[in-house]
Symmetry: C2
Subunit: 469 residues, 2 copies
């Protein structure tokens, strides 16, 4: 089990009177069954399970209001749960309490095609929304890999492969419906594309990981499906050449839609797993969106840059099947890495640094991970300065977990030292609370703590997460 970054306060179990009141109010939507509690006491993090005392399946914002009101009455923790794909322990009931599962709130409330916006309930997943949008000519671009719920993506300020072009949830959430700790329903903003009307409530809840309010609806920006898409891949003997190619591409103003890097170990894992014969060195995967003429022009511009920086075997394609073939390796990366050790789990890091330090950061990180006993393939969204090491561990081996945490600490420290952040897109959760102080300083974290106290004085909303003790 991973060492927590700072100790958790004692458990605050739901009192029997609260459980009775919840059962009375919610009927079949309430359960204290072992199987359901277990399923909700578990996520994709390296932490041990931590079960809630009961689970309520919310069907509406009013359900959440009533639930918050009851939990407040008993000062009992309330943990929001979407798809359970969090990887930093956000949804674990570390102090006990009630989990509110929002997955049944999965209605697309409205598609405002002329405004390039959609409003969805928090439990709608990104794939569900895109399926719903299929005939509109619009799409929702944020793609964190997992088919996460859009409420959860807002709560963790998620992003993914095409943030370099379309931004993260920070830029793409227009407005939220939120239930506050005192059971009020607020709408954080209008649907105007911009506003200077007071404090930015939307951005206060985006990335707050369920600790400031419970998100029940999300209005997101949509984008026209590009008329044309082109894809490209390229190999480099050195990681630095790949990274510099992306930096120069961005500096030249080429509006690249995705810019993904895989290190040689990841490529090796893919070859082994998929019986492919890719050259086992650093690889860059690119995607361009625009008109047919523009995506051709973009691909050619990057080919030229890559060539100057030692890129080899540059290939690009316009047709969907060809593009899929080129990107296949990238899509298989995570799963192939896990297969490096049968039965292993991934312990995933999440550094993000300014572009000018990315090559240094990746090189130093690779030097350290290559000296480790654990396989640590590295890949990432290099257009944003963000990369992940998938540290392949056997979670039953305490020495593996200790080594993984040692590497993770080193990576976080290095990112912060280089002017970056300990988490580009995964969030703080249980795991990175102490790093928050190192990254922002005690005075900045004090402001966060004051905000949390002002808005959740009973500390019932996902307590123990984000803010260090």
């Amino acid at each position: 089990m991973t060492t927590l970054s700072s100790p958790l306060p004692a458990r605050r179990e739901a009192p029997p009177a609260l459980l009775s009141a919840l059962r009375a109010r919610f009927g079949d939507q309430f359960t204290a069954s072992e199987a359901v509690r277990q399923a909700h006491g578990h996520d994709e993090s390296p932490f041990d399970d931590a079960w809630p005392d009961a689970v309520v399946f919310a069907g509406s914002t009013q359900d959440v209001v009533d639930l918050v009101t009851l939990c407040a009455q008993y000062a009992t923790p309330l943990i929001p749960f979407g798809a359970g794909s969090s990887i930093e322990g956000h949804v674990l009931a570390a102090q006990g309490g009630i989990t509110v599962d929002l997955s049944r709130m999965n209605a697309v409330v409205a598609v405002h095609a002329d405004d390039l916006m959609a409003t969805v309930q928090a439990g709608v997943t990104r794939m569900q929304l895109n399926t719903h949008l299929k005939d509109t000519g619009l799409f929702f671009p944020i793609d964190p890999g997992a088919d996460a719920s859009i409420g959860g993506m807002a709560a963790t300020r998620a992003s993914g492969t095409n943030a370099v072009r379309y931004g993260t949830m920070r830029e793409n959430v227009v407005a939220l419906t939120v239930v506050t700790a005192n059971g009020k329903v607020i709408r954080t903003a209008s649907r105007a594309r911009k506003s200077s009307a007071g404090y930015d409530l939307t951005r206060m809840f985006v990335g707050s990981e369920g600790t400031l309010g419970i998100i029940t609806e999300v209005t997101v920006r949509l984008y026209p499906q590009p008329e044309a898409v082109s894809a490209a891949v390229c190999s480099f003997t050195q990681a630095r050449g790949a990274v510099e190619t992306v930096i120069r591409t961005i500096q030249l103003g080429v509006p690249v839609a995705r810019a993904e890097f895989l290190d040689a170990l990841t490529v090796q894992a893919i070859n082994r797993h998929s019986k492919t014969t890719l050259k086992e060195q650093s690889m860059l995967f690119l995607e361009f969106h625009g008109t047919p003429a523009s995506v051709r022009e973009q691909a050619e511009a990057v080919q030229h840059i890559a060539h100057e920086l030692g890129g080899q075997d540059f290939e690009w394609a316009l047709q969907p099947e060809e593009r899929s073939r080129l990107w296949q390796a990238r899509h298989r990366a995570y799963f192939a890495c896990l297969q490096l050790r049968p039965g292993a789990r991934a312990f995933t890091t999440d550094a993000c640094v300014p572009l000018s330090r990315l090559a240094d950061c990746i090189e130093e990180t690779m030097a350290e991970t290559q000296a480790s006993s654990l396989p640590c393939p590295l890949f990432g969204h290099v257009g944003d300065g963000n990369f992940h090491c998938v540290i392949v561990t056997d979670p039953s081996q305490p020495s593996d977990m200790a080594e993984a945490e040692r590497l993770n600490q080193g990576i976080m420290q290095r990112a912060v030292r280089m002017g970056g952040t300990c988490t580009g897109e995964h969030g703080v959760g249980l795991h990175k609370r102490d790093m928050l102080v190192q990254e922002h300083g005690e005075d900045a974290v004090a402001l966060m703590r004051q905000l949390k106290q002002a808005w959740d004085p009973l500390n019932i909303l996902n307590p123990g997460k984000v803010i260090p003790a």
Copy 2:
């Protein structure tokens, strides 16, 4: 004089002991002279002047720390002042107190060209930064018209003509250095392009209008100067055709860099002022950034759309002189409108609505303003759904000011009713505090009030602004 939206609390004058302490600490940087107080008790708003009791010219973040600490000791208001170009009364010393003038903090601290970022002191103006960047191939795009300070632009969440392509200060501030109400210096974020490390402190201060902390340094995003720029103009007999042209342009994914609308009265004002012979009907001004091939393609795509929607006399140009000629009318709009009545002042409105409601909103607004006794030319950043009426008033005539405020109220109510905001880019200041409740609801404003109380318990930071009493 305009009626305030809600009454201000009583004045809180600086006690003599504070003035002595400030004089002792700041020497020549401190003044209580009438001329300087007057200059700082005045902005571009329709409000009467409201002078501070004294002014301190800060030269460093440490100066601001010492100033905040002394003002806190005497519970005396402290009002940040940049270029004084605010138009909603943000910098007026409505309750008395000390104004901190940040215009001498005008150093460009660092240009991180590889990261596409620059860090500046709060008093650096946008034009100063762009002059500084001239040889780097980069530029800072946010252009609110006035040569505002970048600290002030962050504080009001400013935007302007090219937000449709590059976003507003919300999207373009990477990190801030802020002095809090208890005299601590915090850095709101790292220089990583994205982060999920805790609450979004940066976005809490962007748009907080000096009420939550005093911004002393700003790190902003920069962009590569486009390889090519093209400009276009087009006339429409109906405002709706112009607006629909912009909506379809955006829906098609054409990455238009600017999309400005002028109504017929504005064009008439320009003709009268500049002795031009433009057709006196609605006009659209567009700008495209990209490669030479791409800006040609963009202009042609929009020409096609405009033609379908009744656009006439479409002209476009690639060469700088030709582009300037086409855009000349737009650049002269504000000044030409003021000349509709000699000696007049502008009372400027700032509605922003979802794109789908923009044509309705503009048509209804024009029907109302055309029935008014005051000239109300209308123009705006229609790609964002944002437009301004420049209500031409004689501020010495109470009836003019009452009529202007009546029109302004109607415009704000309509914007909110149509799912938009009472202020797209000018901020709340003294003027729009009551609209905040109408727009967000009392429960959302309560959260803002709790945040203000938590972070500024003595209410010394720009008191009376943003939050309604």
